[in-house]
Symmetry: C2
């Protein structure tokens, strides 16, 4: 939370549409440069209008291909898109990079498409937050749609999709009880369910299963989660998917949910910033030492109590 | 962190081997009863000797069947086992319950096997911690082996396996680039890799791929992660797996890693208890109000700073 002078020129350039300024600001946010907080605060009044779509689901269901088709769909409507791939598993995988390289080659000459892989830098805690911030920069820069694509279905991914406007969960027809059960957990976060590779055997069965489970779900929301069948590689079902996403976006705007989501995102961010600093202040050298020493002699709750009681 | 009187009778009964006392204490820990902290502190000097095995991997790879076979293997050696299934996805799934019911029927008359599903109660934050605490109770009660089985490969699961002695990652032969890449991330946490359903096509190819990636992994640890082929439903490879786990356990004891792991578990727990209370103290009504009001008028970093500067 630095108080360094804001690089106003950079801000002005970004707001005027400079892709060079965009790249520079995003790189400062990603690298957690000391300028990042004031840059983000300066951009804050200009953001909040982009539609945020989260795409999650198990590995191997074809999320990347689906995203590629959605890019084309939104570009045909002349919308500017930011795609943020979140890969918390490992800096070692380069997980999202491969998919990116493929997409980069499809869209690299298109200034209306910004693609970035967000990977951990040692710690996973800040990944969801940093991804949001890159999204906020794109939002302020006038991007209309932000797609947050996640590689898995873990906690970091849930943190990422929790604050989007529409959460799209992608599945494929498959057997295996455990997978079926996992899907049940996924139902709770999904605004739109997609069965990709729906030309495969079992797609109809999975659809019926999901619809039965959705019917059981206690829910007084006026939005009823639809199930959409796609075959992304063939492009089948993409137009229908686009329409469903459009309906959900319209529902969000009309119901005030989009504004609610935006406020929730900001609230969580401020809480996170405060929490981080409160804890950093608390854990001074004396308390760290007390922890080290106490571990030799005291039981955990008693030790915690004694550290909390230190003045 | 209550200071209520410890239920010494219950503790004595537990240490004397009462399964009734065990059930009562675990239920207090699970329900976060006010007595739980002093019960756990009283048991603390009696715990720390159980061998903790974490089993993770994508859904559908047959983890439950593998665990079932490992139970039989360890029971043949007359070891007492606790199995804790962690399912953070949803209270709605009852994910682990199905698998449990199956295993319960195999082991329900065996007092040497304790099986429990740990699911979220609304919040995911405390699940890994609560699972550890149930493990600590079993440890104090004289259980020799604790198996932490996770349903997915998300953050909560990583939190759970991070503090075990041996992390076993289970995969199955499959195609799909994304899955292959995910496995790369998994390599970093695996002490033992298992290719289950190894009678399927592609098992040899996957093994070679994993061994190549393991060879690339920068690592000066004297422990070299082995790849074990199993077909859990047929029972193939289970004896070899048991031997590999035994070698890793022996390595941990000899190298002092087991003691190091135990200390890390306790340290993280104390930090978590302290952090939780520090933040609860900080966020008093005045600061909550300042957050609510500030969200209307201020940019996030500036608002965070102003809350931190309140006296």
């Amino acid at each position: 939370m630095g108080s360094r002078p804001v690089a106003w020129t950079l801000i002005d350039q970004l707001l005027a549409g400079s892709s060079n300024a965009l790249a520079q600001i995003i790189s400062r946010v990603e690298n957690e440069s000391p300028q990042a907080p004031s840059l983000l605060d300066a951009l804050y009044p200009h953001s909040g209008t982009a539609y945020r779509l989260g795409i999650t689901g198990p590995p191997g269901v074809g999320k990347s291909t689906l995203v590629d088709k959605l890019i084309k769909l939104y570009r045909e409507a002349s919308l500017k898109l930011g795609i943020l791939s979140v890969d918390p598993t490992s800096p070692f995988t380069g997980g999202a990079l491969l998919g990116d390289r493929l997409r980069m080659s499809n869209h690299q000459l298109d200034e209306g498409v910004f693609i970035r892989s967000m990977a951990t830098r040692g710690e996973t805690g800040g990944l969801a937050a940093r991804t949001q911030e890159v999204g906020d920069v794109l939002d302020a820069a006038g991007f209309d749609v932000l797609i947050f694509e996640t590689v898995g279905v873990g906690q970091v991914e849930l943190d990422v999709v929790e604050t989007v406007d529409t959460t799209m969960v992608v599945l494929v027809p498959e057997s295996g009880d455990e997978i079926q059960l996992m899907k049940a957990g996924i139902l709770e976060i999904a605004d739109v369910l997609v069965i990709n590779k729906s030309d495969r055997e079992g797609a109809g069965r999975l659809r019926r299963l999901l619809e039965q489970m959705l019917a059981l779900k206690e829910n007084d929301s006026p939005w009823k989660t639809p199930v959409c069948m796609t075959s992304a590689t063939q492009g089948d079902g993409i137009a229908e998917l686009g329409e469903l996403l459009g309906s959900h976006q319209a529902y969000l705007e009309k119901s005030g949910r989009q504004e609610h989501n935006r406020r929730q995102r900001v609230r969580q961010k401020v809480e996170m910033l405060v929490d981080r600093e409160v804890l950093a202040d608390f854990w001074n050298q004396d308390r760290r030492d007390a922890l080290d020493t106490g571990l030799e002699t005291m039981a955990p709750y008693k030790l915690a109590r004694s550290i909390l009681d230190m003045s």
